[in-house]
């Protein structure tokens, strides 16, 4: 990854990844493979305990898989520590640094990478505009609403121009109306960004609204993967059928692509 140039989106290629936590009788993730093409957005979809967050944490480098491999483009990052992976991660609970201002939060990934100050400042201003929070730089984090805080978290994740963006239930803590607005906005934002994204959610409509492709997980295993409308219309397992029962899935306006 070039440090300051435009990011080059890379494909995420996960093969046979598995994780069993100490003391657990069943694996959190069992032999999951996943392919996200360059610049696409895939949703990991499933109920709580389905292993989707563990998947995301393994992509971020916050958990080390017991087996399998993770590749970003041509690079094997399976054992690479989180700080060296160059991914952006947005947490459900924002995880903004509360002792810093909005500006300092977004600048944090740039400061620890020793970006020159003028460059970092320009980048933060650019991001504040991108997430529609111009002028919010000096604000305290505690003065932000949930939707604002999550947009700051998104800006922080995007600051160092990561080639991979990971979103862990990013709208989970928001009001219903704000949530639906924000996910439509995220979709349109993603189309402008050169980043390959994985979104974790338990909301099938959310996944269908935002993602190019969904991967349905249950008990740590992939039930089905594909374009949302297709998965909803042609459930491969009983679990997927029940999970999508009654959901309103819009037909995608995005071109289909082959799942690997």
């Amino acid at each position: 990854m070039t440090p300051r140039g435009a990011a080059v989106p890379v494909a995420i290629d996960v093969r046979g990844i598995a994780k069993t936590f100490k003391g657990a009788d069943a694996p959190a993730v069992a032999n999951v493979s996943l392919y996200v093409p360059e610049g696409r957005l895939t949703a990991l979809l499933g109920p709580s305990g389905s292993g989707k967050t563990t998947m995301l944490r393994m992509l971020a480098g916050l958990e080390i898989p017991d087996a399998g491999s993770v590749r970003f483009g041509d690079t094997d990052v399976t054992l690479r520590p989180a700080r060296a992976r160059g991914v952006g991660l947005v947490f459900q609970q924002y995880a903004l640094f509360r002792h810093m201002t909005v500006f300092e939060n977004i600048a944090f990934p740039l400061r620890v990478r020793h970006w020159p100050r003028p460059e970092a400042r320009a980048r933060v201003e650019e991001l504040l505009a991108l997430v529609r929070l111009d002028g919010f730089g000096p604000r305290r984090v505690s003065s932000l609403s949930g939707g604002q805080a999550q947009r700051v978290a998104l800006a922080r994740a995007l600051a160092p121009r990561p080639s991979v963006l990971l979103l862990d239930e990013p709208f989970g803590a928001l009001d219903a109306q704000v949530r639906s607005e924000l996910r439509r906005w995220l979709r349109s934002l993603h189309d402008q960004l050169h980043v390959t994204s994985v979104l974790v959610t338990h909301g099938r409509e959310e996944a269908s609204d935002v993602a190019d492709e969904v991967v349905v997980l249950h008990q740590g295993r992939v039930q089905q993967a594909g374009v949302p409308a297709h998965v909803a219309a042609n459930p491969a397992t009983q679990f997927v059928e029940e999970f999508f029962a009654g959901a309103r899935i819009h037909s995608p306006s995005i071109p289909l692509y082959a799942a690997s």
């Binding site: 480098g61 520590p81 947490f91 995880a95 640094f97 990934p109 609403s145 949930g146 939707g147 160092p160």
Partner: protein, 313 residues
Amino acid sequence: MIVSRDASGAAGATAATAATEATEATQDHPLVRLALLTLVVAVFALLIALPLAVVLTGAFRHGVAAYVQRVTDPLTLSALRLTLVVVAVAVPVNIAFGLGAAWAIGKFDFPGRSALVTLIDLPFAVSPVISGLAFVLLFGGRSAIGPWLVAHNIRIVFATPGIVLATVFVTFPFVARELIPVFEARGTIDEEAAIVSGASGWQTFWRVTLPSARWALLSGVALAVARAAGEFGAVSVVSGHIRGRTNTLPLHVEVLYDSYDSTGAFAVASLLVAVALPTLVVRWAIEWREESVARGGRVRDDSAAQIASAEAA
């Protein structure tokens, strides 16, 4: 008023009314409240304000000149110097230990974690005199390593190192106790966010973990300073009461009082009060700040409007 926190938009007025009624329903009779309040104020006045006033009036009973003379007495100054040295060594040591212990306990789960939590509280549970005695038995002339220390001319007991050690022990819990709940409450999510952002362990600690607990740290330091300056029991056992050499301010107060110099005792005591007062101010300022942060409350989420307006433009 707490009500204003939820009182946003049109629902504000109704919410406020409902909340007022709810408050009244859960409040005691005004007379009961008055009685309790009077009791608290009376106890406070009798046990805290009155003794403080006695110390100050006692110190100035024979005028300002007598006060200044007692305070600038060489023995008093040497006691003050020793106390400042003890504070200057014991408090930084406890900041380092307290940060380490609280960080380990608050952020990680490891075997022996609960035992460590209990150990940190040990100095609170043990009488300070016993703590002091333990150091005498450990490093004194009749201890196992005593002869070796004497042979190498290392003085710990009845000297400054012993006083510092006893003070470190007695004040150990303050910093750790203030930090542990803060570290535990926040969990490791900030650290994870920092690491994914590309921060090293060192950067994470200095830029995220430590600043997030800075107010708790300051509060703990203030308490530790006050206690380190005022510790009597443990220091009394290890000091040996050598006037002008191993007497700290509290010990000097006792010496003066025992020699019927009550003006001197009160004058020196007023110095200790002077150390304690800034501590109170620091604690008070921190609590005031936390309350004002809590009052900040919930913000209406206008994200949808912000995005929509920006898209229309």
